[in-house]
């Protein structure tokens, strides 16, 4: 049986936020009497993650996804509740815990700006107690997986964003962590670089059975890597489960574009009781519920003269967009 590697119970986090009224009067008032209020950004959430799982955290900006990741890796202290990651309380930042995890934040870098990435790799290797031989072996393997080579010897400031991101990944994975916390790892990368990064993460997960917690606003990252998603809405979990179940729930109908042999056939089809979205000459678009798609298509093919048909999936961004603005999805 696969064990839970992350166990979160009734976790909450509050921040003290100071607010200021606009204008000079507000500034003077703010100077003498600062108004602060406690803002609860994570509200009593609970979930578990199994070893080797890749879980996507979805939510609008400010929903609390990054705050959850920061608490899971021990960067910030929870206000209430408990977190166990790999059997450790993250915030205590025990050496063995820290050697097991990594956090990658898109566009935030740990590489030394004026030196080639290789210097930062060896530095990280020594921080994680790797000997030079082992470090060399891992750098070689990871650089092959990431398809970087001569970039290792060029100062970081001269690398492109994609090359830098790959180098950041290498630096963050040199100690071979079991748990990866990735906060928008593909932010700002071009389509090819995004695809390569996803391929790499998939391969890393397959080869090492690492657990990956990922936040991203690029739906492709989520759909190609995560079977499970946790949707966060205003600090609370609105959905925790399989991605395909969520998609089915959110888009219960499919759109089918049917090209009839003649316009008469299209008119006949229009009047046959299907829900019609639109009709242009001999092309007609109808909506069919997911659970009756096979029987409906059989009926259409048997009774009408059809030249061609296309089944259109609703755009994933549009579907997921719905989840970001809704409080609860009970599947």
């Amino acid at each position: 049986m696969v064990q839970n590697i992350i166990d979160v119970r009734n976790l909450s986090k509050s921040f003290d936020i100071s607010s200021k009224e606009p204008g000079l009067k507000g500034t003077i008032k703010h100077f003498f009497r600062r108004q602060t209020k406690s803002l609860k950004v994570i509200k009593d959430i609970s979930f578990e993650i199994k070893e080797g799982e890749i879980v996507g955290f979805l939510g609008a900006n400010g929903a609390g996804k990054t705050t959850i990741l920061k608490m899971l890796c021990g960067l910030i202290y929870p206000s209430e509740g408990s977190i166990l990651v790999s059997g450790y309380l993250p915030f205590r930042r025990k050496e063995n815990f820290l050697k097991n995890i990594t956090l990658i934040m898109g566009q935030k870098q740990q590489l030394i700006w004026d030196l080639p990435p290789i210097e930062s790799f060896y530095l990280n290797a020594s921080i994680y107690d790797l000997d030079k031989f082992e470090a060399k072996k891992r750098i070689k393997k990871l650089s092959e997986m990431l398809e970087i080579d001569e970039e290792l010897f060029i100062p970081v400031r001269k690398l492109s964003l994609g090359q830098r991101m790959k180098s950041e990944l290498l630096a963050a994975l040199i100690h071979q962590p079991n748990i990866l916390f990735l906060d928008e790892p593909t932010l700002g990368l071009d389509i090819n670089a995004q695809r390569n990064l996803r391929k790499f993460l998939q391969k890393y997960n397959e080869e090492t059975n690492a657990t990956i917690c990922l936040t991203s606003h690029y739906m492709k990252d989520i759909t190609s890597l995560c079977k499970r998603v946790i949707c966060v809405h205003e600090g609370a979990i609105s959905y925790d489960g399989k991605l395909d179940l969520l998609l089915k729930k959110l888009s219960p109908v499919k759109e089918i574009l049917i090209v009839c042999r003649s316009e008469e056939d299209a008119i006949k089809l229009e009047n046959s009781g299907f829900s019609v979205k639109n009709k242009i000459k001999n092309e007609i678009t109808i909506k069919i519920e997911n659970n009756s798609i096979t029987s409906s298509l059989k009926t259409i093919l048997n009774n009408f003269d059809i030249e061609d048909l296309f089944i259109n999936e609703p755009p994933i961004d549009e579907v997921i967009g719905k989840v970001l603005i809704k409080k609860d999805y009970d599947i």
Binding site: F15, K70, C73, G74, L75, I76, Y77, F91, R93, E95, L98, K99, I101, T102, L103, M105, K108, Q109, Q110, I112, D114, L115, E119, S120, Y122, L123, N124, S126, I127, Y128, D129, A172
Partner: protein, 264 residues
Amino acid sequence: MISNLINRKIFTLLKVQYSNMLEYRVEIALWAISGIIPFFMLNIWTNNNLNESINISETLLSRYFLCAFFVRQFSVVWVVFSFEEDSLMGKVSPYLIQPLNPFFRYFAQHLAEQITRFPFALIIAFFFFIFNPESIWIPNLGILLLSIVSTFLSFLIQFLIQSIVACLCFWTEKASSIERLLFIPTLFLSGLLAPVVSFPTYVKSWIYLTPFPYLIDFPANLLSGNETNIIGGLIMQILWIFILFPLFKKIWSEGTKKYTAMGS
């Protein structure tokens, strides 16, 4: 074994930071030149014959200010500014989840900068001796070694004081303004502008209870061969380190609980 591992980490950090510092050699040369306040002070003192009021010869005074320059070069600390910037920009976050306290990085950065600064300081000293040939002297080996130890202890005290102030970033975000408050007593009481011996007796007795005279005055007097209580001075330096280190650990541990990882 643990100390071996720490040594290896520090050694690698030092190597990497030294390579990094060499990228900034022009800036470091300029920083070294910018630390010549003691020479201006020497000029003021000798031109006004102020050395006579404290019964110290012009030669000894010029040696004192040269040594003050050297001690300052190898004990200058700016960790509060680096940490504040890194903390506000969220750069501290990746370091916090590595099995090494981020302050070791800053520590190595400072040491690497001192190594880079060394040849420039020697060049400045060379020119000083050309213009003040009467000040040339060779300290005996024992005194030289003790001065190096004392300068390093002075650096540790300043590093700890600034690290404590830097940790206030977890509460105030602008800890460098607190450091600026400390700059005034550091400037006046450390011996950078005037040897502490020149202060009135009742003021001196208070000054010696603070860490400030052990930052520049004590190591500079030791190196220049002026009369000073060597054992007492070293004990006070070690004592301050023993007071400041647990304080730093406590404030670090409380501060990280307050860390909000903003900017990241």
